[in-house]
Each structure stands twice: as structure tokens, then as C-alpha cells.
């Protein structure tokens, strides 16, 4: 059983989700089933974590031929990077089923399918397989927003679908291009990511293929200025969907850049890193400032999420070990903090029937535990030391300063920008006077509090004692940096080696 743990983590939720969709189950039964399924995944995930050696390289690999004539294989595996992205989903998913009590049955089923597809996209070691899962994880999102979303769901659905599909079709073309190039260079067909990394790509076609990949991922992340689908989709989606979108799916975009783009397109990546880094920083600032203008708490969090994704992506483009490790760490950190924030916003919406910040207030007095948890997640999101957010952001800023001083300085402004809108929101929602609407707000029940407690503790533990996590991430991050280092040196970027020479007087 355990040698197929990855397949189980992928297909168990998909199958359960499909069965749920077909059976006339009640809402409660669907939620219960989802909870059990995601619980099993969580247990598998924990076993995976403790079974993972962290020596670098792929572990728990499963390789089967799918289409041998075209070299397409069923190739799964995790390394230090994917492990954490995978675990993030596994840890956070049960929370959705536990806390979000009145989503519809179809929504719960679709959530499960998304989970499986995301796990697939994370573990896939074959680009075609990756592409299949990549598109598969979008489908349930389409249904969830389109069927169960808010009043303006249809335009939002169409926008997110067309946007992402446009990106991923370009990626498909790029994947095919890579396969063909591999065939001409090595005389056999293969779409395995590891093998494609050995390609030597030159010229305009390589740049085009690189663009194809980057567009798909940049839309998913989303990088400025391709973020315009995000506020609408996040706002209109049901709370659980927003949670999945922001906490996990966006991270897969960043993850995919690290996993597929860096090893294959090292030269192109190095050449355009500065441009992409600029886009990340501009996005961070732009979305951060945009957040202050929001009246809708979900929309504010959506922009906040986009802003943080900008800085997350920046860490990838800095091409040094600190920034990259920071990004991967931050993937987990941001997923937990933003995920919790979105879940809380969802609960607020469910209980208060409004998302308008102006109509809320004084909740801290009514619900101290709720406010406390919210505050911890918020502080992690603004990167306060002692929470998980700090380690990631600090490493990214550190790396960004090394990469390019101006970008580093601009990246540092995230410290200020984040705090502006978050405090403003916290003030309006949790402080000040209670009104008629919020006077009836009930605090978290014991079970809910217990459900959130592990995640809150995780946020704190990852801030106070992050080294066990970092120790597992770093070897994998080093491998990725090793791909890009020669190219980066050609492009005159400072990439730090071990034992660098201190500055001389």
C-alpha cells in the first residue's frame, strides 16, 4: 500500500469525489465523507513526511509506461520542494470540511476532486501527466464558482477559465515542442521532466516555449499584470473554493516554475529573471496598495494574497539559495496564514451575511478566540517574527537584495504595505464598537477552535523552530539552483557560492 502512497493520495479523493457526485448523498453525508477522505490523505501525508529522507532527489517514485511509443509515462515522485506543497494541501484540507458547514454537496465533491488533481500536478514527473492534472484541477473550480458562487459568478467563471486555459494551451504547445526537440536530440520520445532538463535549447523557439510555460504559470500565480482574474474569482467563489484557490492552487504555479521551468529553460530563465522579478515586485506593491481601497473583506484578502504571491514569485526569480528556500518555505507559510484568513472570512460571511468591512466591527469583544486566531494568521501574513511568515519573507528579501539592490529595497516595502491594509481591516472588523449585526456573533465552538488550533500552532512553530522544515527543503532547492547557476553567471547575476569572499576594504 505504502509504495503507492502518491497514487493513493491522487486518486482516492478523485474517486470519492466522483462517487459523491453520482450518488444522491445529503449535504451532511458529503461533508462527512470528504472529512474522512481528506483525513486519510492527511495521515498518508504525515507518514510521507516522516518517511522522507531529505537527501535530495526524488523519493516514493512510481514509474509506469502510459504511451511508450511517445515516451509518455505515469511518473510520480516527491522531493523536498514538492513534499511541502503536497503536505500543505493535505494538512489544510480537512479543515475545510470541518469548518465550512453549509456548502452544497457538489461543492464538497468538487473540492475532493480538486485535491486529487492538485496532488497529481504536484507529484507528476512527466510533463504530459502534469498537464493533464493541471487542467483537471481547473475543472472542479469551474463548476464550483460557476454553480455555487456569488451573484456575479458567471463573468468571474468565464474570466478565470479563459485566462487560465489560454495560458495552459500555450504551455501544452511548449510541452510538445520540448518533446519534439528531445526526439531530435536524443532519438527517442520522452516527456519526463528529469530527461527534458538535459536538453540544450537555443534560439527564438526556446524563448517562445519558455514564454508558453511562464505564461501558464504566471497566470496561475498570478503575476502582475495577469492577475485581473483573481479579485473577481476569489470574491465570487464560495469560501471553500477561495480557500483552495488562494492557499494551494496559486502555490502550484510557483512550484511549477521551480520544478519544470528552472531545470529546462535555465538560460532563458536567467535572461528574463530580472524582468520577471520586476513583475513580481510591481505586483506586490500594486496589489498591496489596491487592497487598501477595498470595502469587501474577501476582495481585500484576494488582493493581499496576490500581493504576497508577487513576493513569493520574486523569490524564485532571484536565483539564489536563500530566496528559493524562502519561497518554498513561504509557500507553506502563506498557505497556512492566508488559508486560515480566507476560512475566517468565509465564516464571517456565513454568520454575518455580509462581506462589507464597513458593516462589521467590535468582533474581538464578542469572539476573543476567533479574534486571537485571526490575529495570529494576520500577523503571519504581515511577516511578524515568531510567525512562519517572517522566515520566508526575510529569506526572500535577503536573496532579493543580493540579486538586485533596487528590487531588494522595493521587496522590503512589503513590510509596510502589508501592515497598512491588514491593520486597517483588523481595526474595522475586530475593533471599534459592535453594531446590531455583530452583536450576535458567536465565538468559535470548542470543536472549531480545536480544528484551527493545529494550523495556528503550525504557524507559530514554523516561525519559532523552522529549521527541521528548512533542512528538508534546502537540498532540493540547492539542486534547482545548481541548474540555473551557470546560466545566471553568464547573464551576470550574482549567484552565491559557498564560502564566498568577504568584501575587501
Amino acid at each position: 500500500m505504502f509504495e503507492h502512497v502518491l497514487s493513493t493520495m491522487i486518486f482516492l479523493p478523485i474517486l470519492v469525489g466522483l462517487v459523491l457526485l453520482l450518488l444522491p448523498a445529503s449535504q451532511g453525508a458529503a461533508r462527512g465523507t470528504g472529512l474522512v477522505a481528506s483525513g486519510i490523505i492527511l495521515i498518508l501525508g504525515i507518514r510521507l513526511y516522516f518517511g522522507f529522507s531529505g537527501a535530495g532527489g526524488m523519493e516514493f517514485s512510481e514509474i509506469r509506461d502510459l504511451l511508450p511509443s511517445l515516451g509518455i509515462s505515469y511518473n510520480l515522485g516527491v522531493d523536498g520542494i514538492s513534499l511541502f506543497v503536497l503536505l500543505t494541501g493535505a494538512v489544510l484540507y480537512p479543515l475545510v470540511f470541518l469548518v465550512m458547514t453549509n456548502q452544497s454537496k457538489g461543492c464538497y465533491a468538487n473540492l475532493l476532486i480538486t485535491q486529487g488533481a492538485m496532488a497529481g500536478a504536484i507529484c507528476a514527473g512527466d510533463l504530459v501527466l502534469f498537464y493533464i492534472f493541471w487542467e483537471l484541477m481547473l475543472l472542479p473550480i469551474f463548476f464550483m464558482i460557476g454553480i455555487y458562487g456569488g451573484p456575479k459568478r458567471l463573468p468571474a467563471t468565464i474570466k478565470i477559465m479563459l485566462y487560465t486555459v489560454a495560458g495552459s494551451l500555450l504551455m501544452l504547445a511548449a510541452i510538445i515542442y520540448l518533446g519534439v526537440v528531445y526526439h531530435t536530440q536524443f532519438g527517442e520520445w520522452s516527456f519526463s521532466a528529469a530527461k527534458l532538463a538535459g536538453l540544450e535549447l537555443h534560439g527564438g523557439a526556446a524563448v517562445l516555449a519558455f514564454t508558453g510555460f511562464m505564461l501558464a504559470f504566471a497566470i496561475k500565480i498570478p503575476l502582475f499584470p495577469l492577475h485581473t482574474w483573481l479579485p473577481d474569482a476569489y470574491t465570487e467563489a464560495p469560501p471553500a473554493t477561495t480557500f483552495v484557490l488562494s492557499a494551494i492552487m496559486a502555490k502550484i504555479g510557483v512550484y511549477a516554475v521551480i520544478r519544470y521551468v528552472i531545470p529546462t529553460f535555465e538560460a532563458e530563465f536567467a535572461r528574463y529573471a530580472l524582468l520577471l522579478a520586476c513583475s513580481g515586485v510591481i505586483g506586490m506593491i500594486y496589489c498591496g496598495i489596491a487592497a487598501i481601497g477595498q470595502k469587501d473583506i474577501k476582495r481585500l484578502l484576494a488582493f493581499s494574497s496576490a500581493s504576497h504571491m508577487g513576493i513569493l514569485a520574486l523569490g524564485v526569480f532571484c536565483m539564489n539559495i536563500q530566496a528559493l528556500t524562502g519561497t518554498i518555505f513561504q509557500i507553506v507559510a502563506h498557505a497556512t496564514s492566508t488559508g486560515v484568513l480566507f476560512l475566517f472570512a468565509g465564516m464571517l460571511e456565513e454568520r454575518m451575511q455580509t462581506r462589507n468591512i464597513e458593516e462589521l466591527g467590535g468582533i474581538a469583544r464578542q469572539a476573543p478566540i476567533f479574534a486571537f486566531f485571526f490575529a495570529v494568521a494576520l500577523l503571519a501574513s504581515v511577516g511578524l517574527p515568531g510567525t512562519s511568515g517572517f522566515i520566508g519573507e526575510f529569506l526572500i528579501i535577503l536573496g532579493a537584495v543580493k540579486f538586485h539592490t533596487a528590487i531588494g529595497v522595493l521587496a522590503g516595502t512589503t513590510l509596510i504595505i502589508g501592515v497598512c491594509y491588514m491593520l486597517w481591516m483588523f481595526q474595522r472588523v475586530f475593533f471599534e464598537k459592535t453594531n446590531d449585526r455583530t452583536a450576535g456573533f458567536k465565538d468559535l465552538t470548542g470543536i472549531e477552535a480545536l480544528a484551527f488550533l493545529p494550523v495556528i500552532l503550525l504557524i507559530l512553530i514554523m516561525g519559532i523552530y523552522p529549521q527541521p522544515f528548512i533542512a528538508k527543503i534546502e537540498p532540493a532547492a540547492k539542486e534547482q539552483i545548481a541548474f540555473v547557476r551557470p546560466a545566471a553567471q553568464v547573464a551576470n547575476y550574482p549567484v552565491l557560492e559557498k564560502g564566498h569572499v568577504p568584501e575587501q576594504k
Partner: protein, 637 residues
């Protein structure tokens, strides 16, 4: 060389554990049964008192070591290690931190005790002490951290506590706004801190990023890098220690409960910037130019806030501006590489300013939260303990000769003259006079003359013992703390300076006795002039003044808040709204909209071709065929 001592790790841990326990008790009990205030009070005071005992142990341990080896450290665990970046969660004590440790834990203990009385009857009593303990823990991490990153944890942590405590009375929007302001302004400074750390790390951090390694490698740095790093770190210090241009948050921070103002916004947290500059003295001493910038920023801040202080009518605002002003002195000191003088002023200031704030708290408590000094008067008889202790504090603050403030302030002014900065010295002396004036203006208005509001006066009563005892203890400190660093001219041994010497890269300017006497004489004269004017104007009652012209301008603090609001806050919000209502739908979403428009337009055009007649479609087809034939005919032959 270094001594390992695991109890160093325990020092910050104790208050943090206290905060956790109190916080959990509060959270779990706030809806069902309330624990008694006494329980919370005792729980809360355990940690500060224990840490104070530990602080004494640290001091004694250090004292037992030879002068050059006065360092003990403890590395708890590897915090994070990525590539050459290796950050340990480690603690480190040397004479500098031990001094900070001593007075921080000391004042914190007293203020915790005082708070039990002051906060009595508060709805969320437990929460308050949880925050206070958390603050102490963070402050101790700041002081004891073995490197800039660990210090930054405390640095941000105290900022958070400051925010939480300023917006403690969160029902009132103004308080929360003050908290937001404090956090955001501090964050601007923190940006400088982080960037400073980043530049420092990439320059010499690869071989260890704690103070000891940094100090050892500091000679490898180019002077440009040092200047850059020092300036950025100083930006961090201006945020935390309320210097120009980031001082605006501190007066607003008085929205918090008064013990908080005493502990966080007077005695401990706000001096963190000075501590940090002293901590990095091995860098600052290498770049005197940056030091001058620091010194001038400090002294100008001192001047500006002293001007504001002379016109305030809120007792806490007066003290707040006086804090900013005194912090300015400290920066003038550390900027001129007189680190021990600056730190010594931090030390004495902690006593007398905490004392003054607690005294003010006692007055406010007695008057049922009335803070306007123009409604007080003649309280001397009603609040004798408060009066006498506050008088001692005021004399110390104003720099009256035997009191602690005199020695520390005078040391700074003397060194300004000795290092050849008469400008700084002159402003310093002027500010000293102004300090004496506004301090005694406050004392006279509050305690002397006749009551201005009889109703308030009649209900006033002396605070309970739990509040007066800390006042008395602090008053003793304010009286005698100066003796610890008695300069040679008074026959003293400069104990504190010698104690601090191993930690600091200090310059010792040579100056004649005449200079010293001139400096002391000028300060004393300024003090007497200031107090005389104050007595003339307010000694025996004065009416509420109507400010006009410059006075009004100063009363409104030169409209700096309005200026910042106009230049920074409003544009920022405007840009936010502009993005939401203009850029987002029009500009960034523009390409998307353009694409959809293009498709629509193309559809409209192609619609015209769809005439609906089969025959016409056949014609289209034939035209296509015919064009293809033309093309193929070209290739045939």
C-alpha cells in the same frame, strides 16, 4: 572566552511563558467564569520579578569574569540555516546588555505591580497582563539576542505589543488609529533595519551573523557599506525611538493605559533604538559622518519636541514630548560616539520618566481619567506621595544638579563640546532650559495654585499602596542613579562607563577641565532660567491660555501630522481607490477587455457576411476554391 549559560535562554522564556499562561487562562475563561484580578496580578508579576533576579545573576556572573572576557552566551537551537546564512536562536549578555537587562526588568517589575492597582476593575484584566508579559519577553529577546536577526524578533515583537496596548481601549476609533499609526510608522523603520541587515549580511555575514563574528569581521567592510548599513539601521532606530522624521507615533501612543506609556513608551521600548546604535558601536564608530547625522537628528528632535512640550495641555502629551526630547539627547550622545553617556542617559531616563508617567498615572487615576492639566491644580495636598515623587522625577528630568538626569544629560552635553560640536552643545543647553520650563510648568499647574475644577479636586484621593510603592522606589532610583556614573570632576569613578567599556567601541575625546566646567555651568544656568520662567508664569495659578501665532503652531506640533496626512496617507489611500476604481478595471484589465472587444468587433464584422442564403455560402466556397486554384496554378509547372 565565552561562557555558556543556559539560564540566559530562560530569561526571555519566563515572561513569554507567563504571557501564554495568562493569555490562555483569559481566553478560556473570558466567557464563562472570570478569574479574580488578584490571581492574574500575582501570575503576571512572577515572571518580571524572576527575570529581575536572573538579571542580577547575569550581572554578578559578568562581574566575576575578567574585564576583557565579560561575555556569556547561550545558543538554544539553530533557528534557520540556508546556505551561508546561519542564524541561531542564541542569547548573549555582555556589560551593555546586562545593564539594559537590569533596568528593564526592574522597571518592568515595578510597573507590573503598579498596574495591578491602576487597571483594577478593567473588563479584560487578564488580557492586559498577557500583553505586558509578552512585551517583557520580547524586550528581553531584543536586549539579549546574540545577533541582529534575533534582535529583530524582539524589535518587531515589542512593536506588536506596543500596537496591542495602544489600541487596548479598542472601542474608541482614535485609540486604534493611534495603534495603527505606531505599528505602521515602526514598520517603516523596520524596513530600514531589515535592509541594513541584508546589506550587512551580504558583506560580511557569511562567516557568522552574530555580534561577535560581525565585530571580528567589521574591518573587512568598505566605508561605503558601513555608512549605508549604519544609515539604514538608524532609520530603524528613528522608527522605534521616535526620532525625526518618524517621531509622530509616540505622542499618539499615549492613548494606551498609563502604565503602558511608562513601561513601553518611556522607559524601555523606545530606548531600543539607542541600544541598537550602541550595540552596533563597532560599526558606527568607524563612520563619524554617519554619527554626526545621528547626533544632529537627535538634537533637532530634542529641540522640536521640547518646543511642542511647552504648549501641550494633556499631561501625558507633555511627558510624551519630553520623552521624544530626551531620546534626542541620547541619540546626540551615541551619535557623537559617546555610547556610554547615551546608554547612561537611557538608564537614568528609565527611572525618572517611568516615575513621572506613573505619577501622572496616579494623578489621572485620582481624577477619574482627566488628563488636561488646565483642569488640575493644587493637588499637592491631596496627593502628597505622588507630588513628592513626581517632584523628584521632574527635577531629575529637568537636570537639577544632584539628581540623576543632571549627570547623564550633562555628560552628553560635555562630550558634544569636547568632540568639537558647539552647535549641538548650544542647542542641547537651550533644550535643557526648555525642559526645565515645561516640566515645571506641568508640576506647577498640576500640584500648585488653586484647583481649577473643584468637582474633580474634591473627589481626588491618593492611589493605593500597590501604586505608591513603585513610585517611591523609582523616586529613590531617580535620585541616586546618577551617582553610579559620577564624573571625575565630582570625584566619581564613572562606574557605568567603565562597566560598559568592553561592549562599546568608544572614543574618548580629550578636553580640558575648563570645558567641563563650562558645560556644567551652562546646564545649571539653563535649568535655573527655565524653572524661574515657569515659576513666574505658573507658580501661583494661571488661566487657560489662548494660543496664537507661533504658540498655536507649536501647540498643533507644527502641523506635522496634517502634513504627513496630506503628503503620505491621503495619496496612499487615493492611489488605493484609484487602483480599485480606475487602474484595475481600465488599465491592467485593459488588455483583457480589449481582447473581448476585439472578438465582439470581429463578430459584428463577420456577421455581415452571414447573409443566410445558401447560394451565397456556395459562392464563398467557390471563391475560396478559386483562390486556392490560383495559388496552386502558380506552383504547377
Amino acid at each position: 572566552m565565552e561562557q555558556s549559560a543556559a539560564y540566559l535562554g530562560l530569561i526571555p522564556l519566563l515572561p513569554l511563558a507567563g504571557a501564554t499562561i495568562i493569555g490562555l487562562l483569559h481566553l478560556s475563561s473570558c466567557q464563562t467564569c472570570k478569574l479574580s484580578e488578584r490571581t492574574y496580578g500575582i501570575l503576571a508579576c512572577i515572571a518580571p520579578i524572576l527575570t529581575f533576579l536572573f538579571a542580577i545573576k547575569v550581572f554578578l556572573d559578568l562581574h566575576g569574569l575578567p574585564v576583557e572576557a565579560r561575555q556569556i552566551s547561550y545558543q538554544a537551537f539553530t533557528w534557520f540555516k540556508v546556505g551561508e546564512l546561519d542564524i541561531a536562536m542564541g542569547f548573549f549578555a555582555d556589560p551593555l546588555s546586562s545593564l539594559m537587562l537590569l533596568f528593564v526588568t526592574f522597571t518592568a517589575s515595578l510597573i507590573h505591580i503598579y498596574s495591578i492597582g491602576y487597571m483594577a476593575g478593567d473588563q479584560t484584566f487578564g488580557k492586559f497582563f498577557a500583553y505586558l508579559n509578552l512585551f517583557l519577553g520580547m524586550m528581553l529577546i531584543l536586549v539579549l539576542g546574540n545577533g541582529p536577526v534575533v534582535m529583530f524578533v524582539g524589535w518587531e515583537g515589542v512593536g506588536l505589543c506596543s500596537y496591542l496596548l495602544i489600541s487596548y481601549y479598542s472601542e474608541d476609533r482614535a485609540n486604534v488609529l493611534a495603534g495603527n499609526k505606531a505599528f505602521i510608522v515602526n514598520r517603516i523603520g523596520d524596513l530600514g533595519f531589515v535592509l541594513g541587515m541584508a546589506f550587512l549580511f551580504w558583506a560580511i555575514g557569511g562567516s557568522g551573523f552574530d555580534y561577535i563574528s560581525l565585530k571580528a569581521n567589521a574591518h573587512l567592510l568598505s566605508s561605503t557599506t558601513i555608512s549605508l548599513v549604519c544609515l539604514l539601521l538608524f532609520l530603524g532606530a528613528t522608527g522605534k525611538s521616535a526620532q525625526i522624521p518618524l517621531y509622530v507615533w509616540l505622542p499618539d501612543a499615549m492613548a494606551g493605559p498609563t502604565p503602558v506609556s511608562a513601561l513601553i513608551h518611556a522607559a524601555t521600548m523606545v530606548t531600543a533604538g539607542v541600544y541598537m546604535v550602541a550595540r552596533f558601536s563597532f560599526l558606527y564608530s568607524l563612520v563619524p559622518t554617519v554619527g554626526l547625522i545621528v547626533a544632529w537628528t537627535g538634537i533637532l528632535t530634542a529641540l522640536v519636541s521640547a518646543i511642542y512640550g511647552m504648549y501641550q495641555d494633556d499631561i501625558k502629551k507633555v511627558l510624551a514630548y519630553s520623552t521624544v526630547s530626551q531620546l534626542g539627547y541620547m541619540f546626540a550622545g551615541v551619535g557623537l560616539a559617546a555610547y556610554s553617556a547615551g546608554i547612561f542617559h537611557v538608564f537614568t531616563h528609565a527611572f525618572f520618566k517611568a516615575l513621572l508617567f506613573l505619577g501622572a498615572g496616579s494623578v489621572i487615576y485620582a481624577l477619574h481619567h482627566e488628563q488636561n492639566i488646565w483642569k488640575m491644580g493644587g493637588l499637592r495636598t491631596k496627593l502628597p506621595i505622588t507630588y513628592w515623587t513626581m517632584l523628584i522625577g521632574a527635577l531629575a528630568l529637568a537636570g537639577c544638579p544632584p539628581f540623576s538626569g543632571f549627570f547623564s544629560k550633562d555628560e552628553i552635553l560635555y562630550l558634544a563640546l569636547a568632540t568639537g560640536n558647539p552647535g549641538i552643545w548650544l542647542i542641547g543647553v537651550l533644550v535643557a532650559g526648555m525642559t526645565a520650563y515645561y516640566t515645571f510648568r506641568m508640576i506647577f499647574l498640576v500640584f500648585h495654585g488653586s484647583p481649577r475644577d473643584q468637582g474633580l479636586f474634591d473627589h481626588a484621593h491618593e492611589a493605593p499602596t500597590v501604586m505608591t510603592v513603585p513610585l517611591i522606589i523609582l523616586a529613590v532610583g531617580a535620585l541616586f542613579a546618577g551617582v553610579l556614573n559620577l564624573p571625575a570632576i565630582f570625584g566619581g569613578g564613572q562606574v557605568v562607563s567603565h562597566w560598559l567599556a568592553p561592549s562599546l567601541a568608544e572614543l574618548h575625546p580629550e578636553a580640558s577641565h575648563e570645558t567641563e566646567i563650562l558645560a556644567i555651568g551652562a546646564s545649571v544656568v539653563a535649568f535655573f532660567i527655565g524653572i524661574t520662567i515657569a515659576y513666574r508664569k505658573f507658580g501661583s495659578g494661571a488661566e487657560v491660555p489662548v494660543f496664537t501665532g507661533f504658540a498655536s503652531f507649536a501647540y498643533h506640533t507644527f502641523r506635522i501630522n496634517e502634513l504627513y496626512d496630506l503628503l503620505l496617507v491621503r495619496p496612499y489611500k487615493a492611489i488605493g481607490s484609484a487602483i480599485e476604481y480606475f487602474f484595475e478595471p481600465q488599465v491592467t484589465d485593459g488588455p483583457v477587455q480589449l481582447t473581448t472587444w476585439f472578438y465582439r468587433a470581429a463578430g459584428t464584422v463577420f456577421k455581415l457576411l452571414q447573409v443566410g442564403y445558401v447560394r451565397i455560402y456556395a459562392i464563398y466556397m467557390v471563391i475560396g476554391l478559386s483562390l486556392m486554384s490560383l495559388l496552386l496554378s502558380q506552383s504547377l509547372k
